[in-house]
Amino acid sequence: MADKSKLGYEFPPHRLEVEKGKIAEFAMAVSQKDVPEDVNPIYTDEAAAKKAGYPGIIIPPTFPTNVMFRTGGGLMGVVNALGIDLARLLHTEEEYEYCGSVCAGDALTCKMKVVDMYDKVREDDSGKSMEFTVVETEMRNQRGELVIKARSILVER
């Protein structure tokens, strides 16, 4: 069961280098391709990205998911820090707000915070409740500009 005393808990800031190879790997994963040549070149080729109007190779929309799992010692680190039971864990909602572009070579400083924890009675007749944990992550680039706000809701069923 998530430890309710963790409401308001801030994970230590995490610095993530946005690596070119990692972007290509992520783009291949979400487009189910085996080789970088088969994905949209804005994710793999700097010249193509610039031609398309980007400052450099950019990240796919859900790339920020990387951060949650690398901030706070990976999924197990997060789960352990918050006292969440992995066997009951479900990810129920995810949101990204894009405030600026993120390119290969950027360094993001990510601050993740537990912003809400609450219980909700299940809709079935079991009388059991589900426990929700909401975490928000702010990502700023090396110039201090806020580029992404992420919000994840985890539930233990």
Binding site: F26, P60, F69, T92, E94, E95, Y98
Partner: protein, 149 residues
Amino acid sequence: MPLQFADLNIGDSLVPYTSSPITRTDLVRYAGASGDFNPLHHDNTFVKTIGMERVIVHGMLIMGIAGQAITSWIDNKNLRKFNVRFANITEPVDFDDWENTKQRATITITGKIRNKFEENGEKRVRCDIVAKDGLGNTKLRGFFIAAAQ
């Protein structure tokens, strides 16, 4: 081709985007790319300990596929917000029973223009999205907001 604000009408549907049948190899690739090493998505001996038959697809891979759909409709740089709520789990295709299991592992993303508005000095559209498998089961529902030209 960026969406042209003037050409968009509330209620318009966007061209559906369909994934390949999701394999266990896709799950391993996504685990490495995202850092999500929850054993639920690759370790059959783990899933048995929690009473499940087989590994399941990362919800975030389904959202990633939805992200691919969105960037087939709009330019990445015009995306302002992307939200999903996960509805049901997805099981990967079984190689030894491909024909009978491919539909459950094939995801189609549909989008419909919900609203047109101005915000922060730019013209924006809100579009609802739904991800369903080949059997019609809903995997996630959500929306995105994009700047339109």
